[in-house]
């Protein structure tokens, strides 16, 4: 079991006690690492129905078996897992950089935080020494200031820090956890969970050796991956970066504009990946062990936002750009920088502000309530609103609850403008005209997200008729979900997915060379399926069901109005039902979207049958017992 550190660290913030437990080989084999092991540890260490901000709600962070090794993009990941204050189901978010590497070097596969610290605290791990430190002086500071302050007081520049900003402290439901100043575990609001525990930061220094089982085999594979990463599979990420999507999606009429009002953006040229690179990108940097490097660091060269320095990807660019009607890249980059400073998810922040703009436009709130002229395209108002959400000031305090809860508070027709799935704000694909993707989004266990599946792939590439809901899409979604679950559990970067020419076989080879656990492609795929069932089971335990596998009101009721290829498309209830039925069937789930006993037995998840037993009805709930085997 090399590759794994073999230890899980428990930190009880209430009592200040810390202890370790060994990582069981069975857990490692079944759930691999990252979100897989993270979700299983979450499940086993939590009670159903816990409020996300209760001390009883544990926060888990896990590395993958490849973290700390030289596997390109694999050496550096980590995944946070807890109950999401947005979806009230399972929340998870990954980040890369150097932090995950350091956690493994310190000798831990995962940390589980229990309870709540009495006062602001940060955790300082120096290999086997684990200390809770006073963080009173760090409270109110940005993640960037926090990192500098901690490095200064620990007097070691190579200490790696993950921390929350003011938004996390103030329980803003879209708060994220930022490591190394610009890398965010962004989605599902886990920064607020960390804030609810009075935990400001986790600082790491690790000096243990990372030993792999088959060094020669691993080096062969590393060389192969290095070569592939120089090729076409990684071209997009190496050259323009994800902002390449702007013109691609815009041409398809699939880039949401003004809070999913339109599907094309007239000012797309002004915010394109091409223009971004020409004018703003100063340097492209990489995470630990990466042979691709994708992090496009931009600097605003002149004007009111001169000197703004930030990383940018398509999603936040879209969220604070077209989705808010903003065609000014200087302002979008400033917005990205502010998101990192306040510590909010830079995708959801755009969703919150565009929601506010939509309410303002449609007269559900007035200027007095908004506190600003919150018009689409008003980039100054957008930037001010990031601050107000981060600080929970004025109308920002309402928006800080996320669009779903905010819409409930505002009442009337506000829910129609709340573009979310399971309480998590949408990402930058107009799924009205991307039917495979719409299914992927609807069933994603962490709510609206393109990263739990890659289901926009077949739609955008033209492999399927993207306007049609038909049988067969369930299989496509299931396949990509299983692969993505493995990518997030073995933890390699999603951007490297194209370099595994043989899919699971390549990933299994890397896993086996590092860990010495022989695993073939099918076993790894099965683990991916298991992890998706695990995510679903946690959600079922928390009361989610088929009714939650749904789409934003606009997606289901307002056809895309723009002239162009996507005109008139939307996802009807009939479409959605057809897609869900097909998907549940290929997953081996019942009509309510619940894993059956047969499926759980097949996946070796009998131990979790208790979650669905009562809900499946007497016939179906027959549990396989030892004597029957």
């Amino acid at each position: 079991m090399l590759g794994y550190a073999g230890r899980i660290l428990h930190v009880d913030l209430s009592s200040g006690k810390t202890w370790t437990e060994p990582l069981k080989e069975e857990l490692a084999k079944k759930y691999i690492g990252g979100i897989g092991i993270g979700m299983r540890l979450y499940l086993d260490n939590s009670k159903p129905g816990t409020d996300p901000f209760s001390p009883e709600n544990p926060l888990v962070v896990a590395t993958g078996p490849l973290s700390g090794s030289m596997v390109p993009t694999g050496g550096n990941g980590h995944a946070f897992v807890s109950k999401s204050p947005q979806s009230f189901g399972v929340g998870e978010a990954k980040a890369h950089g150097h932090w995950g590497t350091e956690l493994k070097r310190a000798g831990y596969d995962a940390i589980i935080f229990h309870g709540k610290a009495e006062k602001p605290t940060y955790l300082w791990i120096d290999d086997d020494s684990v200390q809770l430190m006073d963080a009173k002086h760090l409270w109110g500071k940005s993640p960037q200031e926090t990192e500098d302050a901690i490095k200064n007081e620990l007097k070691d520049f190579y200490v790696r820090v993950a921390s929350i900003g003011v938004a996390g402290e103030k329980l803003v439901r879209i708060a994220c956890i930022i490591n190394e100043k610009s890398r965010a575990a962004g989605r599902t609001g886990l920064g607020a969970v960390m804030g609810s525990k009075n935990l400001k930061a986790i600082a790491l220094r690790g000096s243990k050796d990372i030993v792999v089982t088959n060094k020669d085999r691993l080096l062969e594979l590393v060389k192969q991956q290095h070569e592939r990463m120089k090729g076409p599979a990684a071209r997009k990420y190496r050259v323009l970066g994800t902002p390449e999507n702007v013109l691609v999606l815009n041409a398809l009429g699939a880039m949401p504009v003004n809070n999913f009002t339109n599907g094309t953006f007239p000012e797309a040229d002004k915010i394109s990946g091409e223009y971004l690179n020409e004018r703003f990108v100063a340097k492209i940097i990489g995470c630990s062990s990466c042979a691709m490097r994708c992090e496009h660091v931009t600097v605003v060269p002149e004007g009111p936002y001169k000197g703004t320095t930030t990383r940018i990807e398509y999603e936040p660019l879209w969220a604070m750009g077209p989705n808010c009607g903003v065609g000014n890249l200087d302002a979008i980059l400033k917005g990205m920088e502010l998101s990192n400073i306040y510590g909010v998810d830079a995708i959801s922040i755009g969703g919150l502000i565009s929601f506010g703009m939509d309410l303002y436009k449609n007269g559900l709130i007035d200027k007095e309530q908004a506190g600003l002229e919150l018009n689409f395209g008003n980039h100054e108002a957008m930037l001010e609103m990031i601050k107000r959400i981060g600080m929970r000031e004025g109308f920002g305090d309402t928006l800080a609850e996320g669009v779903k809860i905010a819409a409930e508070k505002i009442g009337k027709d506000a829910y129609k403008y709340a573009v979310h799935i399971k309480g998590v704000e949408m990402t930058g694909y107009d799924i009205r005209g991307l039917k495979t993707a719409s299914l992927g989004y609807a069933v994603s266990f962490r709510g609206a997200d393109h990263n739990r599946h890659g289901a926009y792939g077949p739609d955008v590439s033209g492999k399927v008729n993207r306007f049609k809901a038909e049988k067969g899409r369930g299989k496509l979604v299931r396949e990509t979900e299983d692969l993505y679950a493995i990518i997030d559990s073995i933890i390699v970067c999603k951007f490297s997915r194209g370099t595994y020419y043989k899919g699971y076989e390549d990933l299994a080879a890397l896993y086996s060379a590092v860990t010495g656990i022989e695993m073939n492609a099918e076993e790894l795929r099965l683990a991916g399926e298991r992890i998706n069932n695990l995510g679903r089971l946690i959600n079922i335990r928390e009361g989610l069901s088929r009714k939650d596998d749904t789409l934003p009101w606009k997606v289901m009721n307002v056809p895309i109005p723009d002239e162009g290829p996507s005109k008139g498309s939307f996802v009807s209830q009939e479409d959605l039902d057809l897609l869900l039925d097909d998907y549940y069937e290929v997953r081996g789930w019942n009509k309510e979207g619940m894993p059956t006993m047969e499926k759980l037995n097949e996946l070796g998840m009998e131990d979790l049958a208790y979650i669905v037993e009562d809900k499946l009805g007497p016939e179906k709930s027959k549990r396989k017992t030892k004597t029957e085997e």
């Binding site: 150097h98 100043k181 050796d209 340097k283 691709m292």
Partner: protein, 174 residues
């Protein structure tokens, strides 16, 4: 060791591992391959080359510069360090080295590290003239070069920068 203070005439021929900060992405692949090659493990602390990211825009990897005369050799009170006349590599005599770290203080580049378990210092030995970090660097930011080639590279870069416009006019692609 008075003789060590005189620059060696053959130093011009020595090749060192040099990093171009314009290209370096801070990925630390050099640290990984170095520790694997030398110690059979992945460990930043056991790597003879170290990556530094001061700011997203400022990344560099640092290994031994093969100084001549070498301040580390001069600083060592136990004569545990010796510079190869042929390659310029600083050779560490593990029997003599007691980890006192005077050499670490003497090195202006932070290119010397103390081995965390053996408590003796470790310095880049250029993998006997075939540095693995240079081979594996995905950005080709690392180079194994003589000082002469280094200055040539710098001249090329500055010339291209100075004459960028004229070159475009003349149709020369940099």
């Amino acid at each position: 060791m008075a003789t060590a203070a005189v620059p060696k005439p053959q130093a011009a021929r020595w090749k060192l591992v040099s990093c171009d900060p314009e290209k370096c992405s801070g990925c630390a692949v050099c640290e990984y391959i170095c520790s694997l090659t030398k110690e059979n493990v992945f460990s930043a602390q056991k790597s003879r080359i170290r990556t530094m990211r001061l700011h997203p825009l400022i990344n560099i990897s640092v290994a031994c510069r093969l100084c001549s005369p070498a301040p580390c050799v001069i600083a060592c009170p136990r004569d545990a360090l010796e510079q190869s006349e042929e390659t310029g590599v600083i050779m560490v005599n593990d029997d003599k080295c007691d980890g006192c770290s005077w050499c670490i203080e003497a090195c202006d580049y932070g290119a010397i590290t103390l081995h965390p378990e053996k408590k003796v210092v470790r310095i880049c030995d250029t993998c006997d003239g075939d540095p693995q970090c240079v081979k594996f660097c995905p950005e080709e930011a690392l180079d194994f070069v003589t000082r002469d080639i280094l200055s040539q590279k710098a001249r090329l870069a500055v010339t291209k920068k100075l004459f960028k416009e004229s070159m475009e006019t003349a149709g020369i692609k940099p």
